[in-house]
Amino acid sequence: MPAIKDSFELTKRFAAGESSAEATLQAALRMIDAREPRVGAFLHLDREGALAQARDLDARRKQGQKLGPLAAVPVAIKDNIHVAGQATTCASRMLEGFKAPYDATVTARLKAAGAIILGKTNLDEFAMGSSCENSALKQTRNPFDLERVPGGSSGGSAAAVAARMALMALGSDTGGSIREPASFCGVVGLKPSYGRVSRYGLVAFASSLDQIGPFTLSVRDAALSLSVMAGEDPLDATSSSESVPDYLSALRADLKGLRVGVVRAYFDECPNQDVAGRCRQAVERMKALGAEIVEIELPRAKDGLAVYYVVASAEASSNLSRFDGVRYGLREKTSSAIQNYFATRGRGFGPEVKRRIMLGTHALSAGAYDEFYGRASKVRTLMVNDFKAAFARCDVIASPTAPFTAFKAGEKSDPLSMYLCDIYTIPANLAGLCALSMPVGVDARGLPVGLQLQCAPYAETTLFGAAGALESDLNLNLAPTL
């Protein structure tokens, strides 16, 4: 499989009859056999199911049937997104024994497009974390340095794609959970605009912030997968009815006429100047490609972290109430129904999840609501206005994705320092923007550095145009040596 550059190329080869789905899958499984024991990206592999899918695709191609745009692409799915018949654990003990009785809308759309579902990947428990270390089930390693974390919360998906065990993977992004691990693992990670992709079948963390998006080996793969997943879903009332443009045709060679906004502080005050330097060089390349660089201000962005931890935790405290041991998952039996709740939730949730449930419960409580949830919602509206003003002056905002590169496992034991990982990514979720992280080089240790590009809601075409041109220009081909 190393010969294949990305999913786009694979689908072309498959369509031309140059490779079979089964052979492609076998190559992916060989890669998994070789690398997974060291990387630990997967929580569950469905070898038989994947093989059946691959054979079915080959048979249908033989019959001359028209196959979907992702035909034969082996895809991994974050284990908080349902695949019917497979376990969904959210990397928590709370969902012990739970099997998803239905496909998430994205899963159904991927299957319909011909993708082969390999299995489910590791994450921080209930997608709460930035290193994958909050998984109650497994430790995932960064393929570029096995002592380091892959980022989080979608660390398993990022690592699986980076290690070429899957050509594409799905993650979910609530405050940076796709972009930050994409940056740490040197792959492309896309958080679509809020409402662009259906959330039906994604186990909710913070409903007003969550979006499902892909990890890919190229910008065109991100565009390809979004065109499969995007679009209104009658099962998700927050999905948008806005029509889905042809994202692949948005890719362009130069950046003439594009205005790239830059917040100076994001570079100057970045704790890792290696990261800032790589990102500055990338912005310089965009200029060389014809873009105009505009300095912009996002005065309330500094409040993003505070707003996020109130809003996201508040929604999470309510979303996670359904895990009560009554209908599915873990149940601790005690002498009374009320004690069952305490025992089940006490044992089922890990410390970070409990911390956020408590934070969110407090933020919504009678005496604290106005000061916390109420005020955070107001500041969130101000942040949306900040972005509106900024996008009047530029088309895309460039910044580092994360303030540093992948850190060592166990290095950040203090939750607050962990929360800082998402300082540049959180505002896009609060404002419903589309954003992606793409590799723009490596730091002094050879660890990938990610550049974040953000566009206004539903301006994914602009985003892909900018990222695609920069990607061709950089021509990096980052791959781990495992």
Partner: protein
């Protein structure tokens, strides 16, 4: 200053009524709304609260909610949002209920009650709000544990909150009957307290007469009929008075009505009350309700009882009590009007409906449909009386006998031997014989009085003849025949 033992208290009562809507599907998913299906058979990922499932608003529930609001004379909001009300209970699958908090669908309504104040004006009760929410499932507590049936979970409800305008149990009862009457016209709910499709909680407090501030509020739950609502309120007013008069203090609490012991008992105090942590439901965008839609729903409403009542008083000149009665249920008024269309004697028809028909309905505990009474058959029956083929007494007997059948009143009367077949009593030998017998029997007293011109005596003689003839004759035909016989 008056002490607590001597002051007079007045009660302040507000009611919270839950009405289950009989939409085709549930509030936020496509499961059927149905009573009595096998446990947990009407469920899906959404109403089971499975991880990853999301709610989608049922437009029919919104429309039914608008209907309810209009029938309670409410304003309808143009944009609504839903909120989450968070609490844990085994029959609440998501750990929160989706409800409405700060933007109720309906607000600022009013109901005129069929009771009058001291000055003779009708009492009114304001309706503060009516909002949409989803029902919980049912917990079935058994010896070995608790079973949960989620068929009901997600069924749409309208919660109707009255202002604290009610002052006694009678007014509370009148409010509930009026509310039920108005909603019964809409066809949006079974409105059965027995089946739980209508539920009512009461907030009761008392205060010294003349005081404008409210006293300590007690919420009373678990009443299963309008009568038990009234009983619970009466009990609670007396209990609170007793405590205050004895120098005690009241605590804000929730109390349960015990139908067997006819008393309320404490369920939880204010300190034990949940903090529901309401916040806007992020899974549902604000829902816009266009003016056009509201107008459309308004146009589709049937004539509501308040308007119908005025029409019955003005157009048909009915007595107030009869008109009040005819509008209590939509079917009664519809039947009345259909009958009047066939036979233009509204007061006569109203008398039949509020008299014999009501009697039959309550005696048989049946609905109008069960009785199978068509307007045409009632008209035919009245015509038989007009034609003197039945008198008022036999007509009633025939009326009850023909209910539940499809026979014509004439067939029924003939079968019962009540039909006066001859063209008149004058030619009927049985009548002549009866009159002769009566005159012979009462010759010296009543006949004498009658011939002296005493009206009462004639009535007595007519009655005696009717008795002998077992009512099988029109009494109006008898006086000239009696007079003829008496004068020899």
């Amino acid at each position: 200053m008056a002490t607590a033992t001597t002051v007079d208290f007045e009660a302040v009562i507000g009611l919270e009524t839950h009405v289950q809507l009989k939409t085709r599907s549930k509030m936020f998913c496509s499961c059927k709304v149905e009573f009595g299906a096998p446990a947990n058979s009407l469920t899906c990922p959404v109403c089971l609260g499975l991880p990853g499932a999301l709610p989608v608003v049922n437009r029919q529930a919104i429309e039914f909610g608008i209907r309810v609001g209009l029938a309670l004379n409410c304003q309808i909001a143009h944009s609504i949002r839903f909120h989450r009300k968070n609490y844990f209970y085994p029959d609440l699958p998501k750990g929160y209920q989706i409800t409405q908090h700060d933007t109720p669908l309906c607000f600022d309504g009013v109901l005129e009650l069929p009771v009058r104040d001291a000055t003779g004006n009708p009492r009114v009760c304001r309706v503060t709000r009516a909002h949409l929410e989803e029902d919980a499932g049912k917990s079935i507590h058994l010896e070995g544990g608790t079973l949960v049936d989620l068929n009901r979970a997600g069924t749409p409800l309208v919660e109707i909150v009255s202002a604290p305008d009610l002052r006694n149990a009678e007014e509370a009862h009148a409010y509930l009957t009026t509310l039920k009457r108005n909603l019964s016209y809409l066809g949006v709910s079974e409105l059965s307290m027995e089946k739980g499709s209508l539920r009512c909680d009461a907030n009761v407090s008392i205060r010294p007469v003349g005081e404008s501030r409210f006293g300590t509020k007690v919420e009373v739950k678990n009443m299963n009929s309008f009568k038990s609502v009234a009983n619970a309120i009466n009990f609670e007013i007396q209990r609170q008075k007793r405590i205050l008069r004895a120098g005690g203090t009241l605590h804000q609490e929730t109390r349960l009505w015990d139908e067997d012991k006819l008393e309320t008992r404490s369920m939880r105090s204010k300190e034990e009350a949940n903090d529901y942590r309401y916040f806007p439901e992020p899974d549902l965008a604000p829902f816009e309700i266009g003016r056009g839609w509201i107008d459309e729903v308004r146009r589709s409403l049937p004539e509501l009882p308040e308007k119908r009542l005025l029409r019955y008083l003005d157009d048909f000149k009915l007595a107030r009590a009869e008109a009040d009665y005819l509008v209590t249920e939509r079917e009664l008024g519809d039947f009345f009007e259909a009958t009047v269309k066939l036979y233009d004697q509204p007061r006569k028809i109203a008398a039949w409906i509020s008299g014999e028909l009501t009697h039959a309905l309550s005696e048989r505990n049946a609905s109008l449909a069960d009785l199978k009474l068509e307007p045409a058959r009632l008209v035919e029956l009245i015509s038989l009386v007009e034609a003197r083929k039945l008198n008022n007494i036999t007509a009633k007997e025939v009326f009850h006998a023909m209910l539940g059948t499809s026979d014509s009143p004439e067939q029924v009367a003939r079968r019962m031997g009540k039909l006066i077949e001859a063209s008149g009593a004058a030619e009927d030998p049985a009548v002549a014989a009866a009159i002769a017998e009566v005159i012979a029997e009462f010759n010296d007293k009543a006949v004498k009085d009658f011939l002296e011109g005493k009206e009462a005596a004639l009535k007595f003689l007519v009655g005696q003849c009717m008795r002998k003839l077992k009512g099988k004759v029109d009494p109006k035909e008898l006086p000239p025949l009696i007079e003829k016989a008496a004068r020899g």
